[in-house]
Symmetry: C2
Subunit: 405 residues, 2 copies
């Protein structure tokens, strides 16, 4: 709960924690080419889809010890370990490893880069199979369900018969909830952190600002910028800056920066005055540009807006009625989250209970806002450990069709 | 507390209230040319400064019945009444008039457009005295104190001997607090609504986003766009959209829009899906462009960032020590304000008490966020009426130098 100055100039909020990856952790970025066309909710179909993923631990003989970790908007498959040549561990390294909250001595952990992303899985910067040029403006709009359907195919391809739990925060938490409905026979439990049954009006509003910032950058060129030598770096940086404000809180920004001046800055009212919070946001905005694609930001933030468990399923109650009665859900709220306030996680639990389904609420007490799911490992570790211990093993899940294990 | 759908497509949140201006209210935009150069906190000096202002009611013989109303970032001097040719009353019309909270039968109410603005008072779009061309990028950075010093000169020019109260919300509330320090002999009371002792790190962060949006618009041209025929309309609209989110709350956006679709929009996941909250923000952003100048937005939002009562006065305690002991302050918080949470108003009262000064806290219970100061007249009216009744008349204020009244 102390101020966390180490965060100030780091690219990733997960840096600054005490946990450091052990060399024993395997880091193997792998690629899977989906042999079948992927029909999307929008009516279009993607073909020649590739998925980048990493795994930790080993799939057991029954193929029923998998944990699926879903990343957030600008995350990627590299959830744990130090990649060759990299200096930083993955974004959930403190949670994934031998003896950690997601214990790789026991579980087979899989994390895939999302469809529409830009870190190895097919997205707007990928070559269109028809002409080999980047999709750009031709990339179709996606839903969280499209993202999950592709990952379920990956799980199938990896031979996973049963998933102990699908776990994710933010956009990852939205995916986890959809998994329970879209792959009910395989998924035994869901952990959703800082997410919601449907994206809020305020969340849609913030995402709109980010997209308009990218559209405003003349280098965006309607989305077909890849061959031009100009990328919408300023627009993407601005979108990131807006996001970063919503991932924190008034209190976390006060603790980290208050009204302190940036280094070498002059005091107000000098026109050259720069506050630390400004240099932080500008630095972080510029940092994202080096590892992320603006069109992916557009597609994935829109997928968040479209997230609504009820959509196309009649009603929320009917949608949740598709979650099997044996599926367990842990919804974790973050006390200071301004983007997904705790009430939204409590709403998930209430709705599941109303549908006669199992669900538990837990709350991370943190001043760091939405980002707490990337920071508060001391609280997340026991929550995850205890919850996973309550999930029945594959032999008790009572689902027909997997009796051969 | 009911949903307020009338707000959805209106330019100004003050519209949609029951109050309608009575024709009996005088609406007289007037202009005052400051004969003296105005030294600014940044070290520069402005000359040939003009102020646009409106007044309601009459200054009494003792010239001690004035109320000064200070407007917010994109407001103007037209606080009440219907201007000739206009269809809408001023932004605080429901509070200013005969028998209203700020009773024009009793008080002489003055509201001036702020320095740096674009509604009649000298700002970046005004002609530079040296060459008659708009200031543009030559306009100096301002502080809230600069804004208040000019208004104090106006009060002097209008013959106001004593001010019953300076009243404002948001940037207007910051001005009110500075008035108490900068013109201590004239000001008997201050009402500050949704403001703070110093702008918060989160507030600075949001303002940075708005300025970067304007800077990102190629039509901004470094601020010298007036003669080019191209104005940074898209950047200003985006800045406004960001502001609007912070003026509301997750709950108010949920009540007004939730996930409803815009008229004639198709349902998700169709790529053409548009949510009402998106069309609302885009409409409101475009609306501001018709009445506001992007450079004024830059200058005034920066003045908010620089707002800090302690700056240049040693410490906060020393700054508040300059408020006379007889000055009364009413700090009004708004329960759902995400830009100036109630704790900031409570902080004003605590700091004044610690300095041995009079101060009272009151809270507006509202779901509408920061905008509540433009909406919750049923709560504001009795608060203002009761508070003003406690302010001593000029003869009891115990200040030397005005005994000739």
């Amino acid at each position: 709960m102390e101020p966390s100055p180490a965060l100030v100039l780091d690219d990733d909020p997960s840096v600054g924690t005490a946990a450091v990856s052990t060399p024993a952790l395997a880091v193997d970025a792998q690629y899977w080419a989906d042999p079948a066309p992927l029909p999307l909710d929008c009516g279009q179909t993607l073909s020649a889809v590739q998925v980048a993923y990493e795994t930790w631990g080993r799939l057991n003989a029954a193929a029923d010890n998998a944990l699926v970790v879903c990343h957030a908007l600008t995350g990627d498959a590299h959830a744990a370990g130090v990649a060759p040549g990299a200096t930083r561990p993955g974004w959930w390294d403190a949670l994934i490893g031998p003896g950690r909250g997601l214990d790789t001595d026991r579980y087979f952990v899989v994390c895939a880069n999302v469809l529409g992303g830009c870190r190895g899985t097919t997205g707007p910067a990928s070559p269109h199979p028809a002409d080999g040029r980047p999709y750009g403006s031709r990339f179709p709009p996606l839903t969280v369900r499209d993202i999950v359907r592709l990952q379920a195919r990956l799980a199938q391809a990896l031979g996973v018969q049963s998933i102990v739990a699908v776990i994710g925060g933010s956009l990852g938490g939205m995916q986890a909830l959809e998994w329970a409905i879209l792959d009910p026979d395989r998924v035994r439990a869901v952990v959703t952190i800082g997410a919601s049954l449907a994206h809020s009006a305020q969340g849609i509003a913030y995402n709109l600002i980010g997209r308009e910032a990218i559209h405003l950058d003349p280098a965006w060129q309607g989305g077909d910028y890849y061959a031009s030598g100009r990328h919408p770096d300023r627009g993407l940086a601005l979108a990131r800056m807006i996001g970063l404000i919503t991932y924190q809180s008034a209190e976390s920004l006060r603790r980290k920066f208050d009204r302190r001046l940036a280094q070498d800055s002059t005091a107000p009212p000098d026109p050259a005055t720069r506050f630390q919070v400004e240099s932080y946001l500008q630095y972080q905005g510029s940092s994202l540009v080096r590892r992320f694609d603006a069109n992916s930001y557009l597609v994935l933030s829109r997928a968040m807006d479209l997230h609504d468990l009820a959509y196309g399923r009649g009603s929320l109650a009917q949608a949740l009625g598709q979650v099997p009665p044996h599926t367990r859900t842990l919804a974790i709220g973050i006390s200071s989250d301004i983007l997904f306030p705790p009430g939204l996680q409590q709403g998930i639990v209430r709705a599941l209970h109303a549908a006669g389904r199992q669900a538990t609420y837990a709350e991370i007490d943190s001043p760091w806002g939405h980002d707490a799911f990337l920071l508060e490992y001391d609280q997340l570790t026991p929550l995850l450990r205890q919850f996973l211990a309550t999930v029945s093993d594959g032999s008790h899940r009572g689902v027909a069709g997997h009796g051969s294990r």
